[in-house]
Amino acid sequence: MTSYLGIIIGAALVNNIFLVQLLGVSSLFLSSNRLQNAIELALLNLLVLFLASTLNLLLFNWILEPLGLQFLSIICFVGISSSLTILILESIKRKLPISIRRQRLAFYLTSGNSAILGISLMNSNSLLSLPQSIAYNFGNALGFALMIVAFAALRLRLDCADIPAPFRGAAIQLISAGIVSMCLLGFAGLV
């Protein structure tokens, strides 16, 4: 049990998929700066990331590897994540404003997210057993969702702050992302 807790915390905080491993950054910068929208987007991403990477893991372990088709892994991963994203987006259409207005954008972001691909590839290379890999996926998804919400809150403050003209917009967000990832280095010895 403790090893699962360690895996989840390690994946969520210590090796945070967004700020430490630097995957999936585009999805973060194009998300909303309204906290409620960001929470909805975070939940969506959590779901998609977890389910997609788990499905990819199962696909790799049970279908591709026994048949010796590892070279097809990337294409299959992308295909599965896209179709899963569409399925989930269609089913929660009514509730989330972001998914309706920017449906196409959300689709590209969530399905073509390098985070999903990265996690899936790491799963295919790792030595963890199946339940441990699922825990690892969940931890990564959790860390990603956490960062989306944290960044929306940060963006809310940046929006209202007195920023010099050359830094407004993307520049100050990238700078803050850099500073926050340095802060996350503080988790280094946790697990």
């Binding site: 049990m1 403790t2 090893s3 807790l5 360690g6 910068f29 194009l30 998300s31 909303s32 700066n33 309204r34 929208n37 009514r94 509730k95 989330l96 404003p97 972001i98 309706i100 207005r101 920017r102 963006r155 940046l158 929006d159 209202c160 007195d162 920023i163 003209a165 407004r168 917009g169 993307a170 967000q173």
Partner: protein, 200 residues
């Protein structure tokens, strides 16, 4: 991994903490659950709450709610003149759009106004009563019509049907402008750095 955590006490403590966290998350999400049971939580209702409810049709839709529904399906946010700048800003924030200026095809920003019937010329045809979307006109057939000033939304829909053209739209006196700090104005700080649509 850590021998201390293997003991039953620490595991029990961690389990309690986990349950506590779970309860916190459940309470947090309970807000969404309760709201989803009320009518307000549907996305169209949430967008509708930001519109000024004048039911004027200047956006091209028959009322504010149809426009809200269209916006939830992808319609532009800059079509509401009575709402003013603040409505466009609020809508773009909620729907994650970049800030736009008002679409000139749908009119200009309006001052507050009310419709007033010139009673000497009114013939009592009830055409304006049928046109008013909020039933703000009192009257009956061949009887005097008058506009209830507090209920009139200045939507303009009564002016066309009137056969003797006796309805005027009177502008209400404008409110005094809010104080603008001279320092803010000259440094261009009023408003936010960017509205909606993320940063890129």
């Amino acid at each position: 991994m850590y021998p201390l955590i293997e003991t039953i006490y620490v595991q029990a403590a961690i389990a309690c903490f986990a349950i506590f966290l779970l309860l916190q998350i459940m309470f947090f999400l309970r807000k969404y659950w309760i709201h989803s049971l009320e009518k307000q939580y549907s996305i169209v209702d949430r967008i509708n709450a930001l519109l000024p409810q004048t039911q004027c049709g200047r956006c091209g839709y028959a009322g504010c709610r149809p426009y809200a529904k269209a916006m939830s399906l992808g319609e532009q946010v800059n079509k509401c003149p009575p709402g003013g700048e603040s409505t466009i800003v609020n809508l773009s924030l909620m729907l994650n759009e970049h800030k736009k200026t008002l679409d000139p095809a749908h009119g200009e920003f309006l001052q507050a106004a009310v419709a007033v019937i010139r009673e000497e010329e009114c013939i009592g045809c009830t055409k304006c009563i049928q046109a008013c979307p909020v039933d703000a006109i009192l009257g009956g057939t061949k009887l005097m019509h008058t506009v209830i000033e507090s209920e009139c939304t200045a939507c303009d829909l009564c002016i066309e049907p009137c056969p003797v053209d006796c309805i005027d739209l009177i502008q209400l006196p404008p409110l005094k402008p809010l104080w603008q700090s001279p320092g803010t104005a000259e440094r261009g700080l009023s408003g936010r750095s960017f509205v909606g649509g993320g940063s890129l």
